[in-house]
Symmetry: C2
Subunit: 154 residues, 2 copies
Amino acid sequence: MHSFYRTPVLNEWTDYNGHLRDAHYLLIFSYATDALMDHIGLDEAGRARTGHTLYTLEVHLNYLSEVKRGEHVEVRTQLLAHDGKRLHIHHGLYREGSEQLLAASEQMLMNIDHASGRSAIWHADVLATIERLAASDAELPRPVHCGRVIGLPR
Amino acid sequence: MHSFYRTPVLNEWTDYNGHLRDAHYLLIFSYATDALMDHIGLDEAGRARTGHTLYTLEVHLNYLSEVKRGEHVEVRTQLLAHDGKRLHIHHGLYREGSEQLLAASEQMLMNIDHASGRSAIWHADVLATIERLAASDAELPRPVHCGRVIGLPR
Protein backbone atom coordinates (compact mmCIF):
# COMPACT_ATOMS: atom_id res chain seq x y z
CA MET A 1 0.00 0.00 0.00
CA HIS A 2 1.43 3.32 -1.09
CA SER A 3 0.20 6.84 -0.52
CA PHE A 4 1.11 8.63 -3.72
CA TYR A 5 -1.35 11.51 -3.74
CA ARG A 6 -3.00 13.84 -1.26
CA THR A 7 -5.10 16.93 -1.83
CA PRO A 8 -7.71 19.18 -0.27
CA VAL A 9 -11.16 18.84 -1.89
CA LEU A 10 -11.30 21.89 -4.15
CA ASN A 11 -14.35 24.10 -4.57
CA GLU A 12 -14.66 23.33 -8.27
CA TRP A 13 -14.97 19.59 -7.53
CA THR A 14 -18.08 19.99 -5.39
CA ASP A 15 -21.78 20.42 -6.13
CA TYR A 16 -24.31 22.95 -4.84
CA ASN A 17 -24.29 21.10 -1.49
CA GLY A 18 -20.53 21.25 -1.13
CA HIS A 19 -20.24 17.50 -1.77
CA LEU A 20 -17.60 16.00 -4.01
CA ARG A 21 -19.26 15.13 -7.36
CA ASP A 22 -19.05 11.47 -8.47
CA ALA A 23 -16.78 12.24 -11.43
CA HIS A 24 -14.36 14.16 -9.23
CA TYR A 25 -13.70 11.16 -7.02
CA LEU A 26 -12.34 9.65 -10.23
CA LEU A 27 -10.35 12.82 -10.95
CA ILE A 28 -8.60 12.40 -7.59
CA PHE A 29 -7.90 8.75 -8.45
CA SER A 30 -6.67 9.89 -11.88
CA TYR A 31 -4.14 12.22 -10.23
CA ALA A 32 -3.09 9.30 -8.00
CA THR A 33 -2.47 7.27 -11.17
CA ASP A 34 -0.34 10.15 -12.48
CA ALA A 35 1.63 9.95 -9.22
CA LEU A 36 1.99 6.17 -9.65
CA MET A 37 3.30 6.81 -13.19
CA ASP A 38 5.87 9.23 -11.75
CA HIS A 39 6.88 6.56 -9.23
CA ILE A 40 7.48 3.85 -11.85
CA GLY A 41 9.47 6.17 -14.11
CA LEU A 42 6.71 7.27 -16.50
CA ASP A 43 6.83 10.90 -15.42
CA GLU A 44 7.24 13.50 -18.18
CA ALA A 45 10.98 12.82 -18.61
CA GLY A 46 10.41 9.05 -18.51
CA ARG A 47 7.63 9.25 -21.10
CA ALA A 48 9.96 11.22 -23.38
CA ARG A 49 12.79 8.72 -22.85
CA THR A 50 10.76 5.50 -23.27
CA GLY A 51 8.08 6.72 -25.68
CA HIS A 52 5.59 5.00 -23.38
CA THR A 53 2.58 6.18 -21.40
CA LEU A 54 -0.31 4.54 -19.52
CA TYR A 55 -3.88 4.41 -20.74
CA THR A 56 -6.82 3.54 -18.53
CA LEU A 57 -8.72 0.58 -20.00
CA GLU A 58 -11.34 0.02 -17.33
CA VAL A 59 -12.44 1.55 -14.03
CA HIS A 60 -14.76 0.20 -11.35
CA LEU A 61 -15.67 2.66 -8.62
CA ASN A 62 -17.66 2.26 -5.39
CA TYR A 63 -18.94 5.31 -3.52
CA LEU A 64 -19.02 4.66 0.22
CA SER A 65 -19.21 8.08 1.87
CA GLU A 66 -19.81 11.73 1.11
CA VAL A 67 -16.73 13.92 1.01
CA LYS A 68 -17.00 17.65 1.56
CA ARG A 69 -15.35 20.76 0.19
CA GLY A 70 -12.10 21.57 1.99
CA GLU A 71 -11.55 18.13 3.51
CA HIS A 72 -8.02 16.76 3.18
CA VAL A 73 -7.93 13.39 1.50
CA GLU A 74 -5.30 10.92 0.37
CA VAL A 75 -5.26 8.00 -2.03
CA ARG A 76 -3.64 4.72 -0.97
CA THR A 77 -2.72 2.57 -3.91
CA GLN A 78 -2.18 -1.19 -4.05
CA LEU A 79 -0.79 -3.14 -6.99
CA LEU A 80 -3.01 -6.22 -7.34
CA ALA A 81 -1.39 -7.83 -10.39
CA HIS A 82 0.64 -7.07 -13.49
CA ASP A 83 1.73 -8.72 -16.69
CA GLY A 84 4.07 -7.67 -19.50
CA LYS A 85 2.06 -4.57 -20.36
CA ARG A 86 -0.79 -4.15 -17.88
CA LEU A 87 -1.27 -3.05 -14.26
CA HIS A 88 -4.27 -4.11 -12.18
CA ILE A 89 -4.47 -1.64 -9.31
CA HIS A 90 -6.70 -0.56 -6.44
CA HIS A 91 -7.03 3.03 -5.25
CA GLY A 92 -8.64 3.71 -1.86
CA LEU A 93 -9.74 7.23 -0.86
CA TYR A 94 -9.31 8.21 2.80
CA ARG A 95 -9.29 11.34 4.88
CA GLU A 96 -5.68 12.03 5.78
CA GLY A 97 -4.65 9.78 8.65
CA SER A 98 -8.06 8.05 8.84
CA GLU A 99 -8.80 4.37 8.23
CA GLN A 100 -12.37 4.94 6.96
CA LEU A 101 -12.56 4.02 3.29
CA LEU A 102 -14.55 6.73 1.46
CA ALA A 103 -14.40 5.31 -2.06
CA ALA A 104 -12.70 2.39 -3.77
CA SER A 105 -11.60 2.02 -7.36
CA GLU A 106 -10.26 -1.03 -9.15
CA GLN A 107 -8.55 -0.19 -12.44
CA MET A 108 -6.80 -1.81 -15.38
CA LEU A 109 -4.04 0.27 -16.97
CA MET A 110 -2.18 -0.50 -20.19
CA ASN A 111 1.32 0.52 -21.29
CA ILE A 112 1.08 2.27 -24.68
CA ASP A 113 3.76 3.18 -27.18
CA HIS A 114 3.05 6.79 -27.96
CA ALA A 115 4.24 6.77 -31.58
CA SER A 116 2.24 3.73 -32.69
CA GLY A 117 -0.70 4.12 -30.31
CA ARG A 118 -0.42 0.38 -29.59
CA SER A 119 0.26 -1.56 -26.42
CA ALA A 120 3.91 -2.16 -25.59
CA ILE A 121 5.87 -4.27 -23.12
CA TRP A 122 7.35 -2.42 -20.18
CA HIS A 123 10.70 -0.72 -20.48
CA ALA A 124 13.17 -2.75 -18.34
CA ASP A 125 13.67 0.03 -15.74
CA VAL A 126 9.91 0.54 -15.40
CA LEU A 127 9.32 -3.19 -14.99
CA ALA A 128 11.98 -3.39 -12.27
CA THR A 129 10.13 -0.74 -10.26
CA ILE A 130 6.78 -2.46 -10.86
CA GLU A 131 8.27 -5.73 -9.59
CA ARG A 132 9.47 -4.00 -6.43
CA LEU A 133 5.94 -2.62 -5.89
CA ALA A 134 4.45 -6.06 -6.51
CA ALA A 135 6.80 -7.67 -3.98
CA SER A 136 5.99 -4.98 -1.42
CA ASP A 137 2.21 -5.43 -1.92
CA ALA A 138 2.21 -9.24 -2.24
CA GLU A 139 1.18 -9.94 1.36
CA LEU A 140 -1.58 -7.33 1.57
CA PRO A 141 -5.16 -8.60 1.83
CA ARG A 142 -7.27 -8.23 -1.32
CA PRO A 143 -9.43 -5.07 -1.06
CA VAL A 144 -13.12 -5.69 -0.38
CA HIS A 145 -14.43 -3.88 -3.47
CA CYS A 146 -12.77 -6.05 -6.08
CA GLY A 147 -14.23 -8.41 -8.65
CA ARG A 148 -17.66 -6.83 -8.42
CA VAL A 149 -20.47 -7.18 -10.95
CA ILE A 150 -23.21 -4.50 -11.02
CA GLY A 151 -26.80 -5.68 -10.99
CA LEU A 152 -30.17 -5.79 -9.27
CA PRO A 153 -31.63 -9.10 -8.09
CA ARG A 154 -34.10 -10.40 -10.69
CA MET B 1 -32.17 4.49 -25.67
CA HIS B 2 -32.36 8.18 -24.92
CA SER B 3 -30.00 10.98 -25.81
CA PHE B 4 -30.18 13.26 -22.80
CA TYR B 5 -26.89 15.12 -23.02
CA ARG B 6 -24.57 16.48 -25.68
CA THR B 7 -21.52 18.70 -25.36
CA PRO B 8 -18.34 19.76 -27.06
CA VAL B 9 -15.17 18.41 -25.39
CA LEU B 10 -13.96 21.41 -23.40
CA ASN B 11 -10.32 22.48 -23.14
CA GLU B 12 -10.25 22.00 -19.39
CA TRP B 13 -11.24 18.33 -19.77
CA THR B 14 -8.23 17.43 -21.89
CA ASP B 15 -4.59 16.64 -21.11
CA TYR B 16 -1.35 17.99 -22.59
CA ASN B 17 -2.05 15.95 -25.75
CA GLY B 18 -5.56 17.35 -26.19
CA HIS B 19 -7.11 14.01 -25.20
CA LEU B 20 -10.08 13.74 -22.88
CA ARG B 21 -8.76 12.67 -19.43
CA ASP B 22 -10.19 9.43 -18.01
CA ALA B 23 -12.01 11.20 -15.16
CA HIS B 24 -13.66 13.62 -17.57
CA TYR B 25 -15.36 10.85 -19.51
CA LEU B 26 -17.10 10.21 -16.19
CA LEU B 27 -17.86 13.93 -15.80
CA ILE B 28 -19.70 13.82 -19.15
CA PHE B 29 -21.61 10.73 -17.96
CA SER B 30 -22.31 12.54 -14.67
CA TYR B 31 -23.91 15.42 -16.56
CA ALA B 32 -25.93 12.85 -18.52
CA THR B 33 -27.16 11.47 -15.20
CA ASP B 34 -28.15 15.03 -14.21
CA ALA B 35 -30.13 15.20 -17.46
CA LEU B 36 -31.75 11.84 -16.67
CA MET B 37 -32.70 13.22 -13.25
CA ASP B 38 -34.31 16.23 -14.95
CA HIS B 39 -36.22 13.85 -17.21
CA ILE B 40 -37.67 11.76 -14.35
CA GLY B 41 -38.69 14.83 -12.34
CA LEU B 42 -35.69 15.13 -10.04
CA ASP B 43 -34.57 18.46 -11.46
CA GLU B 44 -34.00 21.28 -8.95
CA ALA B 45 -37.74 21.97 -8.53
CA GLY B 46 -38.51 18.25 -8.26
CA ARG B 47 -35.80 17.72 -5.66
CA ALA B 48 -37.24 20.58 -3.61
CA ARG B 49 -40.78 19.16 -3.95
CA THR B 50 -39.97 15.51 -3.18
CA GLY B 51 -36.99 15.95 -0.86
CA HIS B 52 -35.29 13.26 -2.95
CA THR B 53 -32.10 13.15 -4.99
CA LEU B 54 -30.00 10.44 -6.66
CA TYR B 55 -26.66 9.20 -5.37
CA THR B 56 -24.23 7.18 -7.45
CA LEU B 57 -23.45 3.90 -5.68
CA GLU B 58 -21.23 2.23 -8.24
CA VAL B 59 -19.73 2.96 -11.65
CA HIS B 60 -18.05 0.65 -14.14
CA LEU B 61 -16.40 2.37 -17.08
CA ASN B 62 -14.73 1.01 -20.22
CA TYR B 63 -12.51 3.25 -22.35
CA LEU B 64 -12.71 2.26 -26.01
CA SER B 65 -11.39 5.23 -27.96
CA GLU B 66 -9.55 8.50 -27.56
CA VAL B 67 -11.69 11.62 -27.69
CA LYS B 68 -10.15 14.96 -28.58
CA ARG B 69 -10.60 18.57 -27.56
CA GLY B 70 -13.41 20.26 -29.49
CA GLU B 71 -15.15 17.10 -30.68
CA HIS B 72 -18.92 17.09 -30.28
CA VAL B 73 -20.15 14.12 -28.28
CA GLU B 74 -23.44 12.81 -26.98
CA VAL B 75 -24.45 10.34 -24.31
CA ARG B 76 -27.10 7.72 -25.09
CA THR B 77 -28.67 6.30 -21.98
CA GLN B 78 -30.47 3.00 -21.50
CA LEU B 79 -32.39 1.94 -18.40
CA LEU B 80 -31.36 -1.68 -17.73
CA ALA B 81 -33.38 -2.33 -14.58
CA HIS B 82 -34.96 -0.64 -11.60
CA ASP B 83 -36.50 -1.50 -8.26
CA GLY B 84 -38.30 0.54 -5.60
CA LYS B 85 -35.32 2.84 -5.02
CA ARG B 86 -32.55 2.01 -7.48
CA LEU B 87 -31.79 2.52 -11.17
CA HIS B 88 -29.38 0.31 -13.10
CA ILE B 89 -28.38 2.28 -16.19
CA HIS B 90 -25.96 2.25 -19.10
CA HIS B 91 -24.43 5.38 -20.62
CA GLY B 92 -22.76 5.15 -24.03
CA LEU B 93 -20.53 7.95 -25.33
CA TYR B 94 -20.66 8.67 -29.09
CA ARG B 95 -19.62 11.41 -31.45
CA GLU B 96 -22.80 13.22 -32.47
CA GLY B 97 -24.58 11.19 -35.10
CA SER B 98 -21.99 8.39 -35.09
CA GLU B 99 -22.55 4.75 -34.12
CA GLN B 100 -18.98 4.17 -32.87
CA LEU B 101 -19.06 3.59 -29.11
CA LEU B 102 -16.22 5.62 -27.50
CA ALA B 103 -16.79 4.68 -23.87
CA ALA B 104 -19.36 2.70 -21.93
CA SER B 105 -20.47 3.06 -18.33
CA GLU B 106 -22.73 0.83 -16.29
CA GLN B 107 -23.99 2.53 -13.14
CA MET B 108 -26.14 1.89 -10.09
CA LEU B 109 -27.99 4.94 -8.74
CA MET B 110 -29.96 5.17 -5.49
CA ASN B 111 -32.86 7.43 -4.55
CA ILE B 112 -31.97 9.29 -1.34
CA ASP B 113 -34.13 11.30 1.04
CA HIS B 114 -32.20 14.50 1.48
CA ALA B 115 -33.27 15.23 5.07
CA SER B 116 -32.41 11.81 6.49
CA GLY B 117 -29.58 10.94 4.12
CA ARG B 118 -31.13 7.47 3.76
CA SER B 119 -32.48 5.60 0.78
CA ALA B 120 -36.13 6.21 -0.05
CA ILE B 121 -38.74 4.67 -2.34
CA TRP B 122 -39.55 6.65 -5.47
CA HIS B 123 -42.12 9.41 -5.38
CA ALA B 124 -45.16 8.16 -7.38
CA ASP B 125 -44.71 10.70 -10.21
CA VAL B 126 -41.03 9.83 -10.55
CA LEU B 127 -41.78 6.11 -10.58
CA ALA B 128 -44.38 6.59 -13.32
CA THR B 129 -41.76 8.24 -15.55
CA ILE B 130 -39.19 5.54 -14.74
CA GLU B 131 -41.74 2.88 -15.72
CA ARG B 132 -42.32 4.61 -19.05
CA LEU B 133 -38.56 4.64 -19.66
CA ALA B 134 -38.33 0.97 -18.69
CA ALA B 135 -41.12 0.05 -21.10
CA SER B 136 -39.49 2.03 -23.88
CA ASP B 137 -36.09 0.35 -23.28
CA ALA B 138 -37.40 -3.17 -22.60
CA GLU B 139 -36.74 -4.52 -26.10
CA LEU B 140 -33.24 -3.05 -26.51
CA PRO B 141 -30.33 -5.49 -26.60
CA ARG B 142 -28.16 -5.57 -23.47
CA PRO B 143 -25.05 -3.41 -23.99
CA VAL B 144 -21.81 -5.32 -24.54
CA HIS B 145 -19.91 -3.78 -21.62
CA CYS B 146 -22.17 -5.00 -18.84
CA GLY B 147 -21.55 -7.45 -16.04
CA ARG B 148 -17.80 -7.17 -16.35
CA VAL B 149 -15.24 -8.24 -13.74
CA ILE B 150 -11.74 -6.68 -13.89
CA GLY B 151 -8.77 -9.02 -13.76
CA LEU B 152 -5.68 -10.45 -15.41
CA PRO B 153 -5.44 -14.14 -16.25
CA ARG B 154 -3.49 -15.94 -13.51
